[in-house]
Structure formats: C-alpha cells, structure tokens
C-alpha cells in the first residue's frame, strides 16, 4: 500500500511539473522564433483570447451550450468601455498622472465588467433558460440569433464604422531591456489577464459557489438533489464569464485603440477554438489555448502568411475537433464529442 501511494504521489508530482516545463519550453521556443516584440504582441493577443475563451469554456462546461453570442458580448464590452471612459470618467486620451490612472483604470474595469455581467445574465435569463430542457440544437440557434441582435444594436446606435477607443494607459511608457523596447502597456495587459485567470481559478477551486459550479457541470440532477440552486449557479457562471469578456473588451480597447461591431464574430470564433484546443470545460486549458492560438496567428503573420491566419486557426479547430475533441489538457466535462 505504502509503495502504491508513493508511486501515485510521484506520478502526481511529475504530472504537476510536466505542464509548466512544457509551457516554459514552448515560450522560450516562441521567443527565439518570433523575436521579443512579436512575442510580446502574441502574449497580449493571447491574454485577450484567453479571457474570452474562459467564458466559452465555463458556459460549455456547465450547460453544454456553445454560447455563440459570447464573442459579441466581448464586442459590446469594447463599446461599453468607450462609454465609461468618455462619459463616466470624462477622459478621451492617456492619463499620465499615476494615482488618477490607477483609479480610472479600476473604475473602467469594474464598471465595464459589471455592465457586461448584467448583459450576460440577462441573455441567459431571457434566451437560454426557457430552453434549458429543450434539445441542444434549439439553444444553439437561439445563441446565433442573440449574436446577430447584439451586433445590430451596436451597428444601429454607433454605426458600422471602426470606432476609436480612448487609450487611457499611456502607450509611450516603456523601458529598454537589452536592445528591445518594452512597452509597459503590454506588461500591464498581460498582468491584468493573468490576475483575472488566477482569481477565477481560486474562485472555482476554493469557494462554495465554485464547488457548486463544478458539481453542476459534473451532474446537474445530482447536485440539485444535494441542495445546489442550479438556476443561480448557471446564472453566476454567465455573470463571471461575461465579466471576463468585459475585461477582455477593456484590454482590447486600451491596447488596439479601436473597435467595430464586427469584432465579436472572428474573435469569438478564435476564442472558441482556444477553448477547444485546451479541452472544453477546462478553465486552465482555455487560458493555455488562448495563448497558443495567438502564437499561431502572430507566427503566421510574422512569416508572411498574415492573410491566411484565420484559415490556419480554423483548420486547427477542425483538426482538433476531429482527432482530439478532448483538447490538450482533456475535457473536465468528460468526452462526449
């Protein structure tokens, strides 16, 4: 017995070490191939994809719905962040005063995240909950409908143009590392994204609500019998997923400085690919997949295949769905593909 449990323990330790080692190796390789600037670029884009992918994977994990509208929730978030910056904060450009910047950014993230959480929960309540017992094609079609409605609400009120987003964080702040210039904005963006992911991991693994979410994903009926309020748990999943999309929207605005109503479709599809790549239902996998997709895309552009980036990513999606539907890290909802 003692030896057996000893083996198990070494296996587990080895398992825990394996993934970080692979990730570090991969990052080093990418740094070598892409060069420092492109590497930072990919990491930033990856942070955005990862935050969106988390929403897809959480919702899929718990109610097995491909929330097609999630990419558009992200798109709406970029526009909400414009509103928050210009009307609530009264800012249209960079803030160089550090205390003001910190407070403004906190307000920006919290308010946008909060608004998007409400939007997400409203969509769940109105469009998905009535179809909870319906066969799975029905909510998927509804989700596509919601996606179209969100796009057109924005198109109607803002217009079909590319809109500028105020970049509150000064883009010129940078320091030099060796020969490369490192914009602080990139580090800030990656840092915020990692913070969100870490908080989410802790929330899911340590809190009572997190446990309720995991049990609901595993077996809805059984957790209902154990006293979990299913409707509340699912709604909170949507709240959190949409808030993360809100954070991604703010980051997108701060980093790229523009947005348009068509942003959600492509980003959403890529983020979904990220979720599948990492193993759908698996939050750590979604984060990993997000960065991976970004590296693929930035890498393709760096080698002169920028126009094919989308095709390469979607081919990856098809290949993964066909040959390894459980993704890289394995799906926590079990293999039902």
């Amino acid at each position: 017995m003692a030896t057996a449990s000893g083996t198990v323990r070494t296996e587990r330790v080895r398992g825990q070490l394996f993934l970080p080692a692979v990730i570090t190796g991969f990052l080093a390789l990418m740094l070598g191939i892409l060069g420092f600037n492109q590497f930072l670029n990919a990491m930033t884009l990856g942070a955005i994809y990862a935050l969106i992918a988390l929403g897809y994977t959480m919702v899929y994990g718990i109610i097995e719905l491909i929330n097609f509208a999630h990419g558009d929730v992200f798109m709406v978030a970029t526009f909400v962040s414009i509103g928050v910056s210009t009307t609530l904060l009264g800012q249209s450009g960079a803030i160089t005063d550090i205390p003001t910047l910190v407070i403004s950014l906190m307000i920006l993230f919290l308010v946008t995240g909060g608004v998007m959480a409400l939007v997400g929960a409203t969509i769940e309540r109105l469009a998905y909950r009535p179809l909870r017992q319906a066969p799975r094609l029905a909510p998927l079609i509804t989700a596509i409908g919601v996606s179209f409605i969100l796009q057109n609400i924005i198109q109607f009120f803002v217009g079909p143009f590319i809109t500028n987003v105020p970049q509150l964080f000064p883009t010129q702040w940078a320091f030099t590392l060796g020969e490369s210039r490192v914009p602080i904005l990139n580090l800030f963006v990656i840092g915020v994204a990692l913070l969100c992911m870490l908080t989410l991991q802790i929330f899911i693994s340590r809190t009572k609500m997190g446990r309720a979410m995991r049990t609901t994903a595993m077996d809805r009926d059984a957790s209902s019998l154990m006293g979990v309020d299913i409707n509340r748990t699912i709604m909170i999943t949507f709240l959190i997923g949409s808030a993360l999309a809100g954070a991604a929207g703010v980051i997108h605005g701060l980093y790229y400085g523009n947005t348009s109503f068509t942003l959600g479709f492509q980003s959403g599809l890529k983020a979904f690919t990220a979720a599948v790549l990492g193993g759908i239902g698996n939050t750590a996998g979604a984060a990993l997949g997000g960065f991976l997709i970004a590296f693929v895309e930035v890498g393709a552009a760096a080698f002169g295949f920028g126009r094919w980036g989308g095709a390469i990513v979607f081919s990856l999606l098809v290949i993964f769905l066909v040959f390894r539907p459980t993704g890289l890290l394995g799906s926590q909802t079990g293999d039902r593909a």
């Binding site: 097995e64 799975r136 998927l140 409605i149 109607f156 989308g310 769905l321 066909v322």
Partner: protein, 369 residues
C-alpha cells in the same frame, strides 16, 4: 360561400387523392400554377406601384435561389438533424466552379447546362470531404466545424488570386445559351425566371422522392434517435454523409445558376450572413417541410430586398427627421436574429411545421440531451 365550397368538396377530395398518388405531377402542376401567377403580382395595385414587372420577375428569380438554398439546407437540418452553419461555402464552390470554366478570366467557355451537374457533383464531393471526418462529432461540434469551413472557404478564395481573382472575384461569367433558340441576356429576366421555376420543380421532386425513399426514412430515424436507428440496422455515418452530400450538391447546383445569373462571383457574396439567412429561412419555414422552408426563404428575401428598401423611400417622403436617418435595410440582420430567437422560444416547429413532428423539438430524451 360554404355551400359553394361544399359543392366542390368531392372534386377536391378526388384531386387530393390523385395528387397523393402522383405527387411529382402535383409538384409540377403547383410550380406551373404558382410560377405563372407570381408575375401577376406586379399588376395588383399596391405591389405594382413598387417596381416594374421585369424588376419583380428578377426579384422572384433571386428569391428562388434563396428558396432552393433553404430546401437544400433543409435536407441537412430538417431531414437529418445536422446543423450546418457553413452552407454558403458549398454555394460558393458551385459558383466558382462554373465561373472558372466559363468566363473570360481563363478564356475557357464551357457550356452552362452540363456545368449545372458538375457544380452539384463538386458540391457533393466537398460535402463528403468535409463530412467524412466530422460527422462522427456530436451536433453542436459539427455546427462549429461547418462554421469554420464556411469561414475557411471565402478566405481561401480571397487569397488564391491566380485562380479566383482575389477580392474582385471572377467577372464576365457566361450566361446560359440554348443553341440556336435562345440566348439569356441581362435585360430580359424571363428566361432566368422560367429556368428557376424548372429548377425548383426538379429539386422539389427529387427532395420529396428522397424523403420517402429508404434513404429519407433512414435520415429521419437517425435524427429522432441515433441509437435506435443504429440498432435497427441503419448505417448512421453513411446516412448522415448522404444527407450532407445531397445538401451540398443542391447548394453547388444553385451556385452555378447564381454565378450565371449575376455574371460575377466574389468572396463577399458568400459570407456567414448567407449561411445564416438560409438557417433562418429553414427555422422560420419549419424544419423538415421542404415547401415551408422554400416559402420562408422566398418571403425573407422579398421582405428584405423590396419592402425594407421601399420603406426607406416611403419614410423619406414623410420628412420626419428621425425616421429618415434610419436605413431599414440594416434591420434585416436584426430580423434574422429576432426570428431565430423568437421562433426557438415560441414556435420551434416553424410557421409551416413538418407533418411528422420532429422529435428534436418534442423532448430531449434520446436526442442526446
């Protein structure tokens, strides 16, 4: 009135019985009657004032393209229960197939009529090519794979400039010719209209006959309960592949017509919106009912292309500043969205439900939840 109807009741019963026996003939008669009556709309006051008769006939022809797309997609979604979100890709493949071999781009000019069949075959080939590895996937995963395929095809068409003309697409596509009798022209919409009606009749007959065949019954069995179908000896994968191939073939077929009608193909014509409007038409018309989905697509196209456009002109006349700024054409996508959501919530079986109720809407037991 009722007395009059009662007098004709025996006749109606007899004709119903006759057409139940001879459905293909019934479809033919119906298409001739409807096809003949439709252009008369332009003589009825409110519609006639909107646009000229030729413009109406032209609009009906294009609406027919969408109707046929919906009928083809209905084979995949309604008959076999597979959600295909990249249907426009097959439509594009058919169109480009014809445009490459019948335009001034390569200066090859193959005749139109055999290319209709070739377009259908190319569509079916790609359907099998995409379906063979992916049809093992569960429904919503399949939806995403087809969506990805629907995105990849326009990207490839856009970037393969030497073969597809890139962004500009392929222009100057040949119009159909009946040697020695008739040359189709852009000015006269009637030949295209008549050809469209013939195509609708042909495809409707094929689809109805397929539905009643062994293949069609296998589709329904797979759709309603895959496990039960498999244990009853239905080869599920082959059955799904057949549905996929038939749907793709119809899209390729219509794609050839579309290229010849518009005389240009470009990647922009085959965006996600086209796939979605076809899905919307299927959902609105009633999954599983070929006539219903055709009517759904027909109505959706006419509403967006004529009435929304007219609404713009009408509102401009009223001089109300707020309303004038609204472009009602932009509303068409909102309409798709609202149609999809409301239909799923309130009437998932569609406006014209299929006779045999689709189990995928009745309950989730056995449908894989």
């Amino acid at each position: 009135m009722s007395a009059l109807l009662a007098r004709f009741a025996p006749l109606r019963a007899r004709s119903n019985a006759y057409f139940a026996q001879h459905r293909s003939l019934g479809i033919l008669v119906a298409v001739i009657v409807i096809g003949g009556a439709l252009p008369l709309i332009s003589r009825i006051p409110p519609f006639g004032e909107l646009q000229s008769m030729n413009a109406w006939v032209n609009a009906f022809t294009i609406a027919g393209i969408y109707a046929l797309l919906a009928v083809g997609l209905n084979v995949v979604i309604g008959f076999a229960g597979l959600l295909d979100l990249g249907y426009a890709a097959f439509f594009a493949l058919g169109g480009y197939t014809y445009a490459i071999v019948a335009s001034s781009f390569f200066d090859i000019h193959l005749p139109f009529w055999p290319m209709l069949i070739v377009g259908a075959l190319i569509g079916a080939m790609f359907g099998v090519f995409l379906g063979a590895p992916t049809l093992r996937l569960r429904g919503d995963y399949l939806a995403i794979v087809t969506l990805g395929f629907g995105e990849i095809v326009p990207i490839v068409l856009l970037n393969s400039d030497p073969f597809t003309g890139g962004t500009n697409g392929l222009g100057g596509v040949d119009k159909p010719v009946i040697p020695g009798i008739l040359e189709f022209t852009l000015i006269n919409p009637w030949p295209f209209y008549v050809l469209m009606m013939v195509m609708i009749a042909a495809i409707m007959i094929i689809v109805f006959r397929l539905q009643d065949s062994r293949i069609g019954r296998a589709w329904e069995a797979v759709r309603d309960d895959e496990l039960a179908a498999e244990s009853s000896g239905v080869n599920v994968v082959i059955s799904k592949l057949q549905a996929f191939a038939v749907g793709a073939a119809i899209a390729g077929f219509v794609g050839v017509f579309n290229a010849a009608k518009l005389t240009i193909v470009a990647p922009d014509q085959f965006k996600f919106v086209v796939s979605i409007s076809a899905v919307a038409a299927v959902v609105l018309g009633g999954m599983g009912n070929p006539v219903g989905v055709a009517v759904g697509a027909f109505v959706i196209y006419l509403v967006q292309s004529i009435f929304l456009k007219q609404l713009n002109g009408l509102v401009d006349d009223f001089n109300i500043p707020v309303l004038q700024e609204i472009d009602f054409l932009e509303f068409q996508y909102v309409l798709y969205g609202i149609v999809l959501v409301l239909m799923m919530l309130k009437r998932p079986q569609g406006i014209f439900p299929a006779k045999r109720r689709l189990r995928i809407f009745k309950d989730s037991v056995g449908a894989g939840k």
